[in-house]
Amino acid sequence: MTVTSAAPGRRVRTRHRPPDPGTGPEPAVLTVVQAAPAASVQDLGRPGMAHLGVPASGPADRRSFRLANRLAGNPEDTPALEVTLGGLAITLSTTRHVAVTGAPAPLTVDGVPVDGAPRLWLRAGSVLAIGRPWAGCRTYLAVSGGIEAERVLGSAARDSLTGLGPDPVRAGAEYGLGPVRPVPAIPLELAFSIVPHGGPATVRFRWGPRHELFDAADRHRLTTTPWRVSAQCDRVGARLTGPPLAIGSVDLPSEGTVRGAIQVPPSGEPIVFLADHPVTGGYPVIGVVTDADIDLVGQTLPGDELRLAPVH
């Protein structure tokens, strides 16, 4: 899971405009007060470019990301922030609705805890802080109107594998805000996210494309082992630990891979591919996590128990 940095000179759009009362209202800006250890701008990524070596990228938990945008009144593909393990604080130059979804985390506005409503009315100049999640690992923050960030190959998604897209979110970074949008009147209690809650998470997968390279014992082990998510988990993939599969080294030419692919390197410990996975791989893929359940893997933390259940 190599990470290459962005090309030199590519940076978050930063605004340092002196006050100029003669040119109308100040631009609407989101300012990062405190940076999270791992926060990035995301939209729905760059699908359709895998044949050029370009990963799709996008949010690790797409369902929660889309929900945040819908709550903020934005089209689902609008750039928003993905915050891994909390630690982010932001302020807006103008009063807006903001939506917070995904991993539930303690939220404060100007240091005062606010209860877990997924949508807040954040006043200009107030500081919204997202703490470490109680469950899951990735929290999404969308602002009504969306944030403006550099688009590379048509997308503002930061790809941690290739470095495409805007820089990681840093303290002091400023992002312009798009025009304010009306937020939908929906029952907020129905706006929930799905994250692991401490017990084992079961995710479904489909056998293939290379399950036939594995013997019956390996296939049985894959579906019966209480796998643990290892510390090697990021936006590229989540490595699982447990009794290793015995397949060893397989001579397989590189082939295209999909999000959710359960790839088995010679160590025998599977890796589940997430948003920034490489477009091709040379290790056999024994199965692929379903579209419905891959977002849940994107919310797992090191040490979480993961069970893999085949669907037919």
């Binding site: 050029l52 495409l164 293939g208 295209g256 477009v279």
Partner: protein, 232 residues
């Protein structure tokens, strides 16, 4: 696989297993809710990918990804994967395809200055003069097999037998855009910003990958590439 999928596969009288569909020489392997991985057998994956993209139903595909011996096809939605399999088999095994075939790729000429840092060692290991390595590399016609490893990294097939070497034992951490390198039967023009374990024999000033351009790639799968030596 849903009951509907199995039905449409059976109609096409193919052999259906839990996750594979076999018909003729072509094997389709299921790759997730929306994917089929095609084993290309004796056909070139670049040709297979081009044939698939030419189909009227290809607009329902999100990705068509050729690789060494396979093509991965990913649909926009999970509905109709059996129908997609039937369509793919028509393309792959249908009688018309082999006769007409996809149009040949474009021919692209890339000027190269053969003065790469690895050229002397490559020449020594091959028992050739550096000028002869350059001449043989420049005499070949290469084919864009597929992209992988990194954005814009195009594997070009067709390095002559006499120039084939395994990759470097220790890759370089960062290779600049435009570096021309060889490994095995493949050559590459590095897109920039990636590590690299291939033998660097030259450099081109032609920009083949530019994320600010539309499209970003100057080479496409199936194109034929010729290198033309230029003097430093």
């Amino acid at each position: 696989m849903t009951a509907a999928d199995v039905t449409s596969v059976n109609v096409a009288s193919a052999n259906v297993t839990a996750a594979n569909v076999t018909s003729g020489k072509t094997i389709l392997r299921r790759a997730g809710d929306r994917g089929w991985l095609i084993e290309c057998a004796d056909r070139h994956p670049a040709e297979v990918a081009t044939s698939i993209r030419a189909q009227p139903w290809a607009s329902g595909l999100r990705e068509v990804v050729p690789a060494t011996t396979t093509v991965l096809v990913v649909a926009e939605t999970a509905a109709g994967m059996g129908k997609l399999a039937a369509g793919l088999r028509t393309v792959l095994d249908g009688p018309g395809v082999h006769r007409t075939g996809p149009p040949p790729g474009r021919r692209i000429v890339i000027p190269v200055r053969y003065d790469g840092p690895d050229l002397p060692e490559v020449a020594e290991r091959l028992g050739l003069a550096p000028e002869e390595v350059a001449r043989r590399h420049g005499a070949g016609e290469y084919r864009v097999g597929f992209f992988g490893f990194a954005p814009g990294f195009a594997y070009l097939d067709g390095v002559p037998e006499s120039l084939r070497l395994p990759r470097l034992s220790s890759p370089r951490p960062r290779v600049a855009a435009g570096v021309v390198a060889i490994a095995g039967n493949q050559t590459v023009v590095y897109p920039g910003g990636t590590p690299g374990g291939w033998h660097q024999i030259g450099v081109t000033t032609t920009q083949l990958w530019d994320v600010t351009a539309e499209p970003p790639n100057r080479l496409a799968v199936g194109d034929r590439v010729v290198f033309e030596a230029v003097t430093p």
